[in-house]
């Protein structure tokens, strides 16, 4: 699914990712943990193609296609979904309009027929219900006036509607209360836990991993993966901190 090899990336001429390699196979859920400033968000943005995140070496492919050659919207159409640590507010544009244009732009670039208004609303209603989000909220401008938790749930509704192959979820759990955490966790499982899909969870805490059980856990520090293991690695980190992991001291 996703193959990252020796990836180097800079932000404002400052090297952040320094030789990161990671392979995610279909059906797998991986978690990346690491101290603040390690480069976790940078990894997500670089794979998403955010302007200002300059790749200076290495490669990243999604199902064999060179991800780094594609424009950001083409990466989405190729099946990549980026869940934002800080979802962006877009005044004056409703979620419904935004998501319908998103879904249909992706369909168009894959040579599929656009969804009609009715088909789209049915899909949106279904995914909103899955995340226990009131459909009325999706008639409001994108993320404007949403609480931190509502924004994160709205990200998951978007993921449900867009139905990606690979989701990179950047601190989806931060800002969530216990109930919202469970709802988001169950949402991720319902939408993404499938043999043909993969997830990369970026998180600081074990608590999301109680709901979304990862197959692999990696520690990112200093722009590289410094340790990989099974779910037990997250528990070790929770108990003993990053200091306990060789080369991962904050």
């Amino acid at each position: 699914m996703l193959t990252i090899t020796d990836l180097h990336a800079s932000v404002a001429d400052k090297p952040i990712l320094k030789g990161l390699s990671l392979t995610i196979n279909p059906g797998e859920i991986h978690a990346i943990m690491g101290p603040n400033g390690a480069g976790k968000s940078t990894l997500g943005y670089t794979l998403g193609g955010r302007p200002g995140y300059e790749v200076t070496g290495g490669s990243a492919t999604l199902d064999g296609a060179d991800l780094l050659e594609l424009e950001p919207h083409e990466r989405a159409a190729a099946g990549l979904f980026l869940g934002f640590q800080y979802p962006v507010e877009i005044p004056g544009v409703s979620f419904v309009q935004f998501l319908r244009e998103s879904a249909n732009a992706q369909r168009k670039s894959r040579g599929e027929e656009p969804l009609s208004g009715a088909e789209f609303l049915k899909l949106a209603r279904e995914k909103a219900a899955l995340l226990k989000m009131d459909m009325e909220m999706l008639k409001r401008p994108v993320n404007v006036g949403f609480s931190g938790g509502e924004k994160k749930r709205a990200e998951m509704v978007q993921m449900g509607i867009l139905d990606p192959k690979l989701a990179i979820l950047d601190e989806t759990d931060s800002g969530l209360d216990i109930d919202a955490l469970r709802i988001c966790g169950e949402g991720i499982n319902a939408i993404m836990r499938k043999p043909e899909k993969s997830v990369l969870l970026i998180t600081h805490y074990q608590r999301l991993l109680d709901y979304v059980k990862p197959d692999f856990v990696h520690v990112l520090a200093g722009g590289r993966i410094v340790k990989s293991g099974g779910p037990e690695l997250a528990l070790t980190l929770e108990e003993r901190g990053y200091e306990a992991v060789e080369g991962a001291g904050a």
């Binding site: 998403g48 950001p72 919207h73 159409a77 962006v88 544009v93 935004f98």
Partner: protein, 248 residues
């Protein structure tokens, strides 16, 4: 105000005009004069999308109300002038949007005079300039002696799509009365890069993402307009055309 001779840019109201392009439109018609009787109401939609000069002069007698909505675009020169004289307790609302593409100069010029007490005016103008387009707003609010209790508000914002584009905004206040509330806000900016990346990350191609954000930006000008949907549809088409042609 009637313009008898071709103005020059030395004239305050014409400082950002494209006088060369204006020559081709010369002579221009005198302003249309409308008097709204006491307690009466008036509304007008000015849809000027192929350039030209449209001039409207309103007198609102006491407690009269008037609403004017404008979509101003097209080249090489597009100008809308609105002059308003407010008597006691009259209320004036203007919502204007304009778009300047390559080689185009567009402008909205308003003069609102609060001649008597307790009149209110609200003006909201949204401009978009692309390529080497120039979009200007000159808005004068005059509060005459004795026009106490005036409430005048101007909200002026412009969006530049290219480094080569220009936006001018000149909100102006002349106040000769007491206990007057006048506010103006004015900002020139660019499309939010974070918003554009967010839209792209969901699969929306760049031109479409810009059109979506710009159309939300100009929509504020058509809030509550009788022909709001029609104006918005025209604005959207103009924006998409400008963006897809790579003008922006």
């Amino acid at each position: 105000m009637t313009v008898e001779t071709l103005p020059t840019r030395a004239a305050e109201d014409w400082r950002y005009a494209d006088v060369e392009a204006l020559k081709a439109l010369w002579p221009i018609a005198a302003p249309e004069l409308v008097t709204v009787p006491a307690g009466g109401s008036f509304s007008r939609t000015i849809l000027q999308t192929g350039g030209g000069v449209t001039r409207l002069s309103l007198v609102l007698e006491s407690k009269a109300t008037a609403v004017v909505h404008i979509l101003n675009a097209g080249g090489p020169y597009a100008r809308v002038e609105v002059d308003v004289l407010l008597h006691e307790g009259a209320d004036f609302t203007l919502g204007g949007a304009q778009l300047a593409g390559e080689g185009e100069t567009v402008e909205i010029v308003t003069t609102v005079t609060h001649a008597q007490p307790n009149a209110t005016s609200r003006q909201l103008v949204r401009s978009v300039a692309a390529a080497r387009g120039v979009a200007s707003y000159l808005g004068k609010v005059k509060v005459e002696r004795g026009a106490d209790g005036t409430d005048g508000e101007q909200s002026v914002r412009a969006m530049l799509l290219d480094r080569t584009a220009t936006a001018n905004a000149r909100p102006e206040l002349e106040i000769y009365a007491d206990s007057v509330k006048c506010a103006h806000g004015c900002a020139v900016g660019e499309l939010d890069a974070n918003g554009l990346f967010y839209l792209a990350s969901r699969g929306v191609p760049p031109a479409q993402a810009k059109a979506l954000m710009l159309s939300a930006f100009v929509a504020e000008a058509f809030d509550g307009a009788e022909e709001g949907d029609n104006l918005q549809a025209h604005a959207q088409a103009l924006l998409e055309k400008a963006l897809l042609e790579g003008k922006a």
